[in-house]
Subunit: 195 residues, 4 copies
DNA sequence: AAGTAAACGAGACGGTACGTCCTGTCTTCTT
DNA sequence: AAGAAGACAGGACGTACCGTCTCGTTTACTT
């Protein structure tokens, strides 16, 4: 007669289909070219969902957008293992730039970062997502250090920021594209800088 | 030779004091802690100005914010001439990071970049401002190349983006500060990468 | 050959306690001072009942309110028999005004009448209730007519409406109280008018 | 050089056309048969007006509705002077019943009274309107008293309520019509009661 | 000095989105 | 079955902000 932590749940359960529809629609609207404003009403209507269903699960519009972005951009970039720092960096950055440079994704990222500047909830989610991503790249650099490819004095965090900085800076300002060549050159530069 | 460009001007002239008040108030409100909403009404009221006076001279809210930001962050970083690339970079980046890292300025930059993502006018102004800044840093690198401190194959634009990328990335996400040490390390890294 | 009319009922039977709780809570909430919103959620929560239990037995919110009102105000006013029309009227109207004039009851009546204007179900129930009440008063008048106390030309329905009209008019607008003195005076007036 | 109470007004003035459109549309929607819900959005849209323009001038939906009703039902019933109480009452009540009994007006009155039960602003306006109307009828009775047609002991307020009570009671419950015959009979009854 | 043109502070306007609230229905597990 | 719990679609509420449009006033240049 042990068990005591009862009340597993009562009442209707969250509708997963609605959740999916909301996030999918959000990405879709966010990625639309032109300055289409992405509204909660618009999202709700397009997802065939009541507004309250959105606000029941997310604290604000920004939170929805950020989660949608995280799911969309969430395809984990596989951590490569080519044996050399430069190879690993090139593989990782090429995949990353390729994913982020894709028009739809880039648009989504742009607006998500903007949203994160005004909505505290979005800001928090952005911080978490950024942190996750930085950790992966930092892991690659640490492995390089273990192999002796990175000098002791190197500031790994700065290197990570140089890479992601280029990515975000270009996405936000649009002054230059993100392509494989850029990724390769950046990999070369960073591994040289490290040695 | 009567000329034609007549009608020099008639009526009241633009009130410079109002212009100043508007831009100053914009920066002030933008920099306020806690998510103070910066609206045109708020700006107009705080500047003791009618809304129409704002819209008479700027096409949109974003345009006001961007101009305010440009004026605030506009203290030109002097182009140093230390004789070496590393010295120049360190001087320039230190001054730049110091200016941008200041709390008020960083907040203004954050929100301006966000505004630039939705307001086409702001976007255009941001692009121009970014371009101006990039050109200065690129000039420093070019001078280094002329001195033979930068290898022929270096992608100067990418180097510029690595520097400004770090700056914006940190301002926007706030995961790490912008200080002199970071600037120095970045200068070291970039000059090493260049050689 | 047990016949066929089997299965008289299966499953759980209607919970009378829940019914009572719902109606009691409805009256209680309706009578609360300060514009407490009386919603289905509020009623369900306060009655410790699921919303569906309400909608299983009543077609709409208005129907619940009206039934609650009918039960609350339902204490049948005894039909008096004093021997004279004026005596009967005075007894009846005094009891009626006393009941309806009570603060809680008046508030419940007010809101029920309002609800009856928008909810068709409530409207129907209100009509039935009104009809029942009118019939009682009309009966008193008819008995007076049989006794020769009411002239042939008198419009009994109009007299009934004069009495209930005063009651509802005062409850709805609150410009004057419903008390024994008013009831007595009205009884006097109506019996004079009838003669 | 006396005058000092300056600043007559500054800024754009209230748009009278918008005010008219709002009130007209409100009456129109309120009077629609069937249980068409009357929404602020609907009113705004039909009047070609922004919602804020409504909320700038009225504190709530109910207040708009009540003012619309007051304007619509506001055609002052002329105070008759036939020389006798019964004549005056008959003239006044006939005109009043005829106006209030008209389908559109009756519907508007019904819903306004309902609104007055939940919206405090509407309630206040209703009270004022009711008071104004009662005063007029009371004036007629007072004149009758001066002529000696009303006995000293008569409760004039009660008589007023008997008349308006019948009117509202029938409008709200719809169990009997308001027509000239009813008005005449009521006039006869009240003047008899008074004597 | 009178006339004319533009800029100004004030503030109402149409429109659009926000986030909350409520209704009546549907779903899940329990009694 | 009926019940408690609670999620759902739909839709109205009242607020906030944007960019535009009057008002009446003030400041400058032109006759």
């Amino acid at each position: 007669m042990t068990g005591e932590a009862r009340r597993p749940h009562t009442g209707r359960r969250r509708n997963e289909a609605a959740r999916r529809a909301i996030l999918d629609v959000a990405v879709d609207l966010l990625g639309r070219p032109g300055d289409t404003p992405v509204t909660i009403d618009t999202i709700a209507a397009a997802a065939g969902v009541g507004k309250q269903t959105i606000y029941r699960w997310w604290p604000s519009k920004g939170a929805v957008l950020l989660e949608a972005m995280a799911e969309h951009a969430g395809t984990a970039i596989p951590v490569p293992d080519t044996g050399t720092l430069r190879g690993d960096l090139e593989a990782f950055l090429t995949a990353t730039f390729r994913a982020a440079g894709e028009r739809l994704t880039a648009t989504v990222l742009r607006h998500s970062m903007a949203e994160a500047q005004r909505d505290p909830h979005a800001r928090e989610q952005m911080r978490a997502l950024i942190e996750t991503r930085r950790r992966v790249l930092r892991g690659i650099l640490e492995r390089g250090r273990e192999r002796g490819e990175v000098s002791a004095g190197s500031d790994l965090d700065l290197m990570v920021d140089q890479a992601y900085g280029v990515l975000w800076y270009r996405i936000l300002t649009g002054h230059a594209p993100l392509d494989d060549a850029q990724a390769a050159e950046l990999a070369r530069a960073l591994s040289a800088q490290a040695g």
